[in-house]
């Protein structure tokens, strides 16, 4: 590709921004260089095999759960007609608004030996402890299920968008070649939707690797619980960094497998023609089956836990919605809005930089910037605190020596630090979405724009942005909902007297006061509803707006 100066500037800016975003992860990894004594040997001899096995099994479980749930529902709602389809279309996104640790606490409260379900069962049957088998929710399969329930919407969302934007001609060709709906699904639609499915799946798996709240509460030892235990319990930052490095190794392997397996393929559309989808009309048992298939994840991922939260919130009644509570809501919404806008801007810069100048250094830097999504929030927070405090203190020392004034802490303990941490943590979400959107735009469009004398920025503004509207909105809303739920980084980095809904919900829930935490938890869910519904509408509409 022939590079003009503005493209070079763009790519340099991308690398610089990507490295800045990757800084906290790199800072933590830097601790690998600190001698760790015999910590590693101790870990390897005792708990490390458990960490590896449990993390892998958890990922496997979540992969299965989110693929079956996400791809299946995406196909049904976009290609088939059955009662309630229009409702499921948006309702299936609702579990996304549910923080994983909240759903974990809720189901434990419901299904535990001492919970209402088992207690009623014993009252009905006069069984006692040990007389019957009941699935244990606080276990590895339980954790995989909890995470699948709240993460499958990522796969659903991206896959459904891909199904909707598939050229109908391709599907029609498949049918005229005599393929039935099943064969068309498995042979044509599914392979075509692969980049989207993999993008959704990798988001779900990275979120799984970063999860701390659920696995910790369920007593499942994974990398994340191990990192904290090693860092603080064994007082070994180096050992924790070695574990983090191994964790990121997992992510890199995942990404590499995915890239190499689709190296040859191109997924952008070549036709401009789109027709309204003719959905398969399902009747009788088929329709009932489709409704059931869509209802199950919605029921268990949203309706039951939200209902339980509502019941708890009602019993707490006295925690009225007062001014303090409204301030929590406002704080949460403002942070989420700002962070999602920033994430969108940065992801556009990076994704476009990579498209303009797809060299190893740009691609590598962009990939590095996305790693934060697989790293637990607390680790990111510490990776932000250390360099920010170092900058602040160095500047302060210099100003004192030079001018005799103290500048104190300029960055540490401000919302800037917090927003930066959100970017580090969630940029991957926006990036994946924007990249997958861009990948569907034919390169010939760029070339046409450029040959008409437009600079890269102008091509982006005049050609790509209008075509990407759907993807951009998706990226914006995904980050918005994620920030709304984010806890560990918010907890550590926020300024004085600044609270959010997630902080309030967690403080009470972690003290095992589930009922008291319900109003805040429920509000997170409610606040997440509006963007989720918007999201769904935008996808349906983008089907008509996006030229392919």
């Amino acid at each position: 590709m022939n590079l003009n100066p503005s493209a070079r500037l763009w790519s340099t800016a991308s690398v610089a921004v990507a490295l800045l975003i990757a800084l906290p992860v790199l800072v933590v990894l830097g601790f690998v260089l600190v001698p760790s004594g015999d910590t590693w040997r101790h870990l390897a001899a005792t708990v490390l095999p458990d960490y590896v096995a449990n993390s892998l099994l958890l990922m496997l479980g979540v992969a299965l759960g989110t693929l079956i749930g996400g791809v299946g529902t995406a196909w049904l709602t976009s290609m088939c007609q059955f009662p309630g389809r229009g409702f499921f279309e948006w309702a299936l996104l609702l579990p996304m608004a549910m923080p994983a640790y909240i759903i974990a606490y809720t189901y434990t409260g419901l299904l535990d030996f001492a919970g209402p379900v088992q207690t009623n069962l014993r009252a009905l049957t006069s069984w006692g402890y040990g007389d019957y088998w009941f699935p244990e929710v606080r276990s590895l399969p339980g954790a995989a299920l909890m995470l699948s329930l709240v993460l499958f919407p990522y796969v659903y969302l991206l896959t459904r968008a891909a199904f909707l934007s598939q050229s109908l001609c391709v599907l029609d060709v498949s049918r005229t070649l005599g393929n039935g709906p099943w064969r068309t699904f498995f042979r044509v639609a599914l392979p075509l939707a692969r980049p989207a499915i993999v993008a959704g799946l990798s988001l779900a798996l990275m979120e799984t690797l970063a999860d701390y709240g659920t696995v910790q509460y369920f007593g499942v030892s994974t990398f994340t619980t191990g990192i904290f235990r090693t860092w603080y319990g064994l007082n070994s930052a180096a050992g924790a960094a070695q574990l983090s490095a191994l964790l990121l190794g997992f992510v890199l392997v995942l990404i590499t497998i995915e890239r190499s397996s689709r190296r040859q393929a191109r997924y952008h559309h070549t036709t401009q023609r789109h027709q309204a989808i003719r959905r398969h009309r399902l009747v009788g048992w088929w329709a009932a089956g489709a409704v059931t298939f869509c209802l199950i994840p919605l029921l268990f991922g949203f309706l039951i836990p939200a209902g339980q939260l509502a019941v708890w919130a009602a019993t707490i009644g006295r925690t009225a919605i007062d001014g303090d509570f409204l301030r929590l809501v406002a704080n949460s919404l403002e942070l989420a809005a700002l962070a999602s806008l920033l994430a969108l801007l940065f992801s556009l810069l990076l994704a476009y930089g990579k498209r303009l100048y797809p060299t190893r250094s740009v691609e590598g830097a962009v990939r590095l910037a996305g790693l934060g999504y697989a790293v637990p929030g607390t680790v990111i927070a510490i990776g932000v605190i250390i360099p920010f405090a170092w900058i602040d203190n160095s500047l302060d020392a210099w100003m004192r020596a030079r001018f005799g004034i103290s500048t104190g802490l300029l960055l540490s303990g401000t919302l800037t630090a917090l927003l930066f941490a959100y970017l580090v943590r969630f940029l991957a979400v926006a990036l994946q979405t924007v990249e997958s959107g861009l990948s569907k735009v034919k390169p010939s469009m760029d070339e046409a724009g450029r040959s008409l004398g437009l600079a890269p920025g102008q091509v982006l503004a005049r050609v790509h942005l209008p075509m990407l509207k759907g993807s951009l909105l998706t990226a914006l809303l995904l980050v918005f909902v994620d920030v709304l739920k984010e806890l560990p980084a918010t907890l550590i980095l926020r300024p004085f007297n600044f609270n959010t809904l997630a902080v309030r919900a967690f403080e009470l829930a972690s003290d095992e006061r589930l009922a008291d935490s319900a109003p805040a938890a429920l509000t997170i869910v409610l606040a997440g509803l509006a963007p989720v519904i918007l999201l769904s509408r935008s996808i349906t509409q983008s089907r008509h707006a996006d030229p392919a």
């Binding site: 606080r138 007593g219 235990r229 007082n235 019993t315 203190n393 802490l409 540490s412």
Partner: protein, 350 residues
Amino acid sequence: MTLSTLCPPSFGPLTRLAGLAALLIALPLQGQAADEVNVYSSRQEDLIKPLLDRFTEQTGIKVNLVTGKDDALLQRLQSEGINSPADLLMTADAGRLYRAKTAGSTQGVSSEALTMAIPSTYRDPEGHWFGLTLRARPILYVKGKIDPASLSTYEALADPAFKGKICIRSSDNIYNQSMVASMIAADGAEAAETWAKGLVANLARPPKGGDRDQIKAAAAGECDIAVANTYYLAGMLASEDAADRSAAGVIGVFWPNQEGRGAHVNVSGAAVTAGAKNKETAIRLIEFLASPESQQWYAEANGEYPVREGVQVSPALAAWGTFKADPLNLEQLGELNADAVRLMDRAGWR
């Protein structure tokens, strides 16, 4: 300065956004004025805010608060160093106070009021930290199923007689780490490890959930004995949920090792930070928290024991009787913490 002072809600969303923008570019958050004190606390807002508000009412000193998880707050304090806005660090266990001290994040202060109020076991000899409430970790049992006469010490929980009867949470938790550290101090590392293996063999189920979950499991019949901090039991007894109250009702409290070193206790406490700009007000706040009235409220609010002698405990706590507490210097809990974790790793205590 906070968002709320910047822009009262009546000013509307635009003003709020402007205020937020102002917060983004560093505002001098740390007030230099003598009428403020900045607190980093791993004690939850719920458990200290009412007291802090009362302090403000009585003295006119404004308290700015960040709550968070202990270890990460310590890291923040340590990284911010001498420029940290925090004047006071409050944590929920002595091990972390010790860690803050060894990291150079605290300073020694002297206050006669505090020396008088707090027994020497529960404060740092050089005044780096002061315990404010006691958190006891006794053995809990199901009344009617376990004869308290069959219980004696923590050590005895490894006895095969208790096979399949015991519930305890994960060794990830600092309470268990501290408890095992106290056993290393008392019995030696080797004996403590043998004990931990015996305890793991006696567990009714793999460790999961928090302390309340162990109590609930015992009440439901999954196990007969649980090891948990008393304030969780107190919280369940005072709960609005009838199921919690009835579960807690069947549980008895047994104070172990009364013939020997006494029951394991930890403290929640406070330390003046190394870079405190409002050192005097920070000391005033600790003194306020150690005063008899605060002690009574502070301990009662979370079902803990006051650190100050002669302060009345709540009726629920009084019903469990008095006990002899392990007089171990609490700094040792911090020193031995890593050893305790390794030992539990080897014992297979999840």
